[in-house]
Amino acid sequence: MSINQKNIRNFCIIAHIDHGKSTLADRIIEKTGLLTSREMQAQVLDNMELERERGITIKSQAVRIVYKASDGEEYIFNLIDTPGHVDFNYEVSRSLAACDGAVLVVDAAQGVEAQTLANVYMALDHDLDVMPVINKIDLPSADPERVIDEIEDVIGIEANGAPLISAKNGINIEEVLEQIVTKIPAPKGDKDAPLKALIFDSIYDSYKGVIVFFRVMDGCVKAGTRVRMMATGAEANVVEVGYFGAGQFIPCDELSAGMVGYLTASIKNVKDTTVGDTITDADNPCDEALPGYKKVNSMVYCGMYPADGAKYPDLRDALEKLQLNDASLNFEPETSIALGFGFRCGFLGLLHLEIIQERLEREYNLDLVTTAPGVVYKVHKSNGEVIELTNPSNLPDPSEIDYMEEPIVKAEIMVTTEFIGPIMELCQERRGAYKGMEYIEGTRALLKYDLPLNEIIYDFFDALKSRSRGYASFDYEMKGYERSELVKLDILINREEVDALSFIVHAGTAYERGRKMCEKLKEEIPRQLFEIPIQAAIGSKVIARETVKAMRKDVLAKCYGGDITRKKKLLEKQKEGKKRMRQVGNVEIPQKAFMSVLKLDDK
């Protein structure tokens, strides 16, 4: 079947979290007849176990579907799903680059939210045509008129003809499909020009090697084409090209300008195909590469160590594989006195960190010890040198430090007016600098704050939700670095500094944090043969102390009637518990204690 470029629509769906993006994607796939209703698993595109469990979309996924429009013609839709969480803006940006238009889903009850704005701006940055859709119109609290006004006023795009739908109940989906045909432009691009294709994702398959996902901008590619990755210079002969069925790869003869698909070329090394690179024909290369993606900077760093030191190579392999289709993950080896060999890993945010951690544990069966996450600080030394500090233990001696800077984000918080007070209070507590407020539709406001990133990486999102009864939404972007009074808080267990527990904190909250950290560790560390002092210190000055008393007694109850099995089970439990401990000096520390700092704000 030859496909006319004018009958192709490459688009994505963008939305604030929970506005129904994945559900709409499901309905579109269902309506176009690629799957019958019976075959539909809820949320077809979210095929990672983790995504389904958490109800969020982590990885961008693509699917090709065929739609017969009311004009009698068949259209090829390439639908690229995008994640909604603020951590994954980078992923969104990758998906957008492969599209020509975006369907913007807005909840008919909640209206425009912080991430709605952020996603639309990103789509407009990529020159996409944005087509609004009002979802959840069957909710009792739906107010589509108000939401249409909001979209036009706040975002400034035409929303009057927007389809009013319920993705959940399949209302008006046809209207969405028709508008995709009429409102989203067909791809441009010269089929006869030299090959130029953008890699937007890739995965590793143990049989086929690396499977590269791309959008063809110009030219065409088929089995046998010798391709070159323009940034890495790697070359390979294409074995197979194809497109994306729902959850499967469907081979085809060729992919030409405007099309979205995959290729395999027996590429073994995952590093050869970086996301954002341009694929061209090695024998007939294009003049210049596509702009690619902005390199993302990791915002949050933590140490990841295998619980079993022997698994270090396994952890490295797993991280490499994950990095292949998650370019925003980066890592480098590091050594901790307490935890041995591991990696300092960089993430987009805390959710990203948690997801990587869970994937390592589930998909790669690794047992991990993770240290407290932190941000990247700039340390200006007195000799003029500037260090980017990702691991607190590498902080130079204070005498060598002139001053330090910490990353600041521009945060936008959308909130109903009744919660403005509590949210402003929260931002003050987190050292926020008030930058302004705009009222939207009388009942809602957009609060603007500059906030230190290290104040929001732990639990800001949760705090925001709980103080606004779930009504606040939040988005942020990096603003830059600002000078700040920062200190390194060290934790000494049994008078030995435990490097993996050190963290950087604002001088004003150091005392409080140190005290809480000691209290937390006292709870986490079981009694041992001797008394264990736990101290928090800045430099040589101890600012807080707790003590784990020595274990006095640990004796089995009466072995009654000779029931040894039961007693042995108790001993086994004890031994099992010990396995999950890390020996630091002569103290055994449970692995989860290294994450203690995360839970300091538990109330």
Binding site: K553, D554, G561, G562, T565, L571
Partner: protein, 386 residues
Amino acid sequence: MSAGVYIHVPFCVSKCLYCDFISSCGSEKDMDKYQKALINEINQTEICGQADSIFFGGGTPSVYPVEHIAEIIEVLKQKDVISNNAEMTIEVNPGTVDMPKLKSYLDMGINRLSIGLQSADDTELKTLGRIHGYHEFLTTFENARRAGFGNINVDLMSAIPGQTVTSYENTLRKVMTLAPEHISAYSLIIEEETPFYKMYGETSDSKDEEKTGRMKLPSEEEEREMYYLTKRYLAENGYARYEISNYSKSGYECRHNIKYWSRNDYYGFGTAAASLVNNERYVNTEDRNYYIQENGNPHKIKKEQMKLTISEQMEEFMFLGLRKMNGVSYEKFKEYFHRDIDEIYKDVIDKEIKNGLLIKDEKKLRVYLSERGIDVSNMVMAEFLL
């Protein structure tokens, strides 16, 4: 080595608040039904060789009809499994045995009495949910002596809610005047699924000493003091400690108990009874109705059955052996497993000697727990799991 026989009597007048053993009240009819199943289980079980220890435990065996006890002994005799000078023990609770009952026990050949006193303080006894006061115990003890029992054990308990070091010392002093041959001294452990668990939560590991119960549990310091007091007091009165919680006058070590720690074979009959036969461990069902319904059929009533691997046997050899004050013998280990103990456990033993928890007697080639090691014996024993 001769084997041991354990008979479980799962009946009590009422359940104590700290008890997690298998027992409950029962009518005479319940006991008759149980007896029938029990006799059948014994009859259908092949016992190799003779036993030099028979132990009636519970529950409260002294609430069980004397005729039933007699019948059980009769059946064992018919099977010719009781050796000539066997130690035959029955557990009794104060207030549940009178003179005629005690005399009957002696007539049947029972020669050792184990009396559950726990405390000589009536308030503490009430706290524990015991059915007797100290006075009833005194009567029972004196009756037992008069009837002719020359080997009596008294169970004592420390760390009872509301107990003080002074009251505990008082208990010890009172008991010493009676000069029993054997003392079992345990500290109260709050087990799950007991009323105490709801009232006090876990004691031993809990860092939160102020768990609000109805009565305050002794502090860790007080508890330790009681524990050391037991040791000192009993030593002064001529009792040697031969196992973590057991003390006796010379020659009165409980033969039955030692079988558990030395891994001799023992046959357990009745609900929840455990057996070790030929390195295979069994535990019977805890469900009395089921036990009766299956008429004690040995093929049906076993809840757990486990053939011990060599490693498991070694583990047991160590962690059970270490409960004995003279610990484990290098020679015995070699004799048993045809391998040197050091081949398996050198690292652990060296480490715990360094930690001061184990002591090695180079001359006798034995290794045993130090005083500190006894305090934290769980931790040491767990190290010996392979």
